[in-house]
């Protein structure tokens, strides 16, 4: 059957929350194209997780194999390739996580097919979906489509769809898929997984966050940010480059490699708004952005935008806030 296969992501028997977002994307697309969604789950001894997943009313296909106990690019791409060859899905959908970035291009190449990666949405042009992804770090959108025979591979950016929109109430069947992994050599040896940065600050609980990016230019200028945070009674956070340079500790980083936050007020100073940052804060209540580049993508998601020099505007703003 020409189906939509959504590849789930699990570690230690727990689904990555973005899997449900991809499933929602798959369900919406299925409705447009009159297709069915199957969620593909890979691992070892994952029966409980399969039942739990199917319990939400989605059809689950399970590949349970010794060689899939730990995630490896060799194991995952070989197993999914076999399922795809057997099932001939029309679409294979993923959430664009760090794991998917690690193996999905390899899978696509082994199938000789294109993967449209990190899509933010799709739109219909007649009966054909157009997939939208960002280029130039979110400054520009680009439209892509597929031509010829499938399967068509698409990964969606984290938070491209809302997991709460999941359509439940399907039959919730669990199917087992057999794969033959005898000839598959796993060349990567997986060692330990560990939490690198002890999260001492839980930014997700902050009501107000002042977040600082590359535009701050020098560590000496961080003092201005501290004054702003004090005036607003806010926690201080940063985009990745600021933490990489050691101007703030790593546990203050917001974005795909740091924390995900949704405060009442997110005040972005000198942050251009690369996708990796935006996925970590786009659900904030009120977003303020100060940037000298009027085309900075952060303005696309801001409620209030100041186009100007932060070193001129912030001292005045701090004064104004104190007067309120």
């Amino acid at each position: 059957m020409s189906n939509i296969l959504v590849v789930a992501e699990q570690r230690d028997g727990t689904l990555n929350r973005s899997t449900w977002e991809a499933v929602v994307g798959g369900q919406k697309l299925a409705k447009e194209l009159d297709k069915e969604v199957t969620v593909l789950l890979l691992g070892k001894d994952i029966k409980d997780l399969a039942d739990e997943t199917a319990g939400k009313g989605v059809t689950v296909m399970v590949v349970d194999h010794e060689k899939l106990a730990d995630y490896t690019p060799d194991g995952y791409s070989a197993a999914i390739k076999q399922v795809v060859e057997k099932e001939s899905p029309a679409y294979i959908l993923f959430s664009h996580t760090y794991m998917v970035r690690d193996y999905a291009p390899k899978l696509a190449a082994s199938l000789g097919k294109a993967l449209i990666s990190d899509c933010i949405r799709y739109k219909m042009a007649g009966d054909k979906p157009v997939f939208v992804r960002q280029v130039f770090q979110g400054k520009i959108d680009a439209d892509f489509t597929f031509d010829g025979d499938g399967p068509y591979l698409v990964s969606f950016q984290v938070a491209a769809f809302n997991a709460d929109d999941l359509a439940t109430g399907g039959s919730g069947v669990v199917q087992n898929a057999e794969v033959n992994m005898d000839g598959v050599e796993i060349r990567t040896k997986v060692l330990e997984i560990f939490e690198g940065v002890k999260q001492e600050v839980d930014l997700s609980k902050a009501e107000r966050i002042v977040s600082v990016g590359r535009g701050i230019k020098k560590p000496e200028n961080m003092d201005l940010i501290k004054q702003l945070a004090e005036a607003l009674d806010a926690e201080i956070a940063a985009s990745r480059p600021v933490c990489d340079d050691g101007w703030l500790p790593l546990d203050r980083q917001v974005g795909s490699s740091g924390q995900t936050v949704a405060p009442k007020l997110y005040f972005a100073v000198g942050i251009s708004g690369a996708i990796q940052h935006i996925v970590g804060m786009k659900n904030s209540g009120t977003i303020v952005a100060i940037n000298k580049d009027p085309h900075a993508p952060i303005f696309d998601i801001a409620d209030y935008g100041v186009v100007g020099d932060l070193f001129e505007v912030l001292p005045e703003f701090i004064k104004s806030v104190k007067k309120l």
């Binding site: 294109a114 959108d141 997986v190 107000r208």
Partner: protein, 262 residues
């Protein structure tokens, strides 16, 4: 250790991008270019591995004539030689095609390790490195934050999401995509710049790579690029510009009385 570094030249970060009338791409003539950020870190990592374990660092860059500037910069920092593939006649956003061409160049070399950045700042598909590994028949690891050489292989630290990491071991040869921030990038020295002038930049075309026009044809993977455009805004943004003092007062007022968040 012989290391090949794949390096792309991209428009500088805060370039003012103007989209062409037909939406096919941006106007490139007025742009300034730089080494793609994570590729820059990949080059630095290669230089450090060479310094620690000896060997050779070969730069590989694909793009029009202008990328020779980026190549010279890399040579000045300490790369030993470079390969330049001019792709003016077959520019494509399909990572499958780009990886095929890069693979053809790398297969001419014996290598232990291929390094690239984790994604480019222009196309940003984050795929070319992984597909390249598949083409070369070597294992890969992505989003790498540390590399340790071991007997017969390497041990690398991969970044996972939300502050988590993972150690994996790979045999050599293999391919790694490097995360920005893995190291501190060095500046080129005057001596380095002088020495770079004597270093080889080998230009390779499709025929030298054993490829034909059909190998780089658009659409062979089913990918069709239609157009680029300014993002459709999902949110209404109130923009303030002009006198810093007035802007500051207005913003403070809005946050207090309209958004009610301070």
């Amino acid at each position: 250790m012989k290391i090949i570094v794949c390096m792309k030249q991209v428009p500088v970060k805060d370039s003012l991008l103007k989209i062409t009338d037909d939406g096919s791409w941006v106007h490139e003539t007025d742009l300034n270019y730089e080494i793609n950020e994570s590729d820059h870190y990949a080059l630095e990592e290669a230089l450090r591995l060479k310094e620690a374990h000896s060997g050779e660092v070969v730069l590989l860059s694909m793009g029009p004539e202008r990328v020779r500037e980026a190549i010279k910069q890399g040579l000045a920092k300490g790369a030993d030689r470079a390969i330049h593939i001019d792709n003016s006649s077959f520019t494509t956003q399909d990572p499958f095609v780009n990886a095929r061409v890069l693979a053809a160049a790398i297969k001419r070399e014996e290598f232990d390790l291929v390094l690239s950045g984790l994604q480019t700042d222009d196309y940003g598909s984050a795929q070319t490195g992984v597909i390249l590994a598949e083409n070369l028949g070597v294992p890969s690891a992505t989003i790498v934050m540390e590399i340790q050489k071991q007997n017969g292989g390497i041990k690398v630290k991969r970044e996972l999401e939300s502050g988590w990491f993972q150690w994996v071991e790979l045999p050599l040869p293999s391919l790694l995509t490097i995360q920005s921030g893995i190291n501190q990038i060095r500046y080129a020295t005057i001596k380095g710049i002088m020495m770079a002038k004597k270093k080889e930049i080998k230009a390779l075309g499709l025929s030298e790579l054993g490829l034909s026009e059909s190998d780089v044809e658009e659409g062979q993977t089913g990918l069709v690029f239609s157009k680029i455009y300014v993002p459709e805004k999902t949110k209404k943004t109130e923009i303030f510009e002009g006198d810093p003092r007035e802007v500051a007062q207005k913003l403070a007022d809005k946050l207090k009385n309209e958004a009610k968040v301070i």
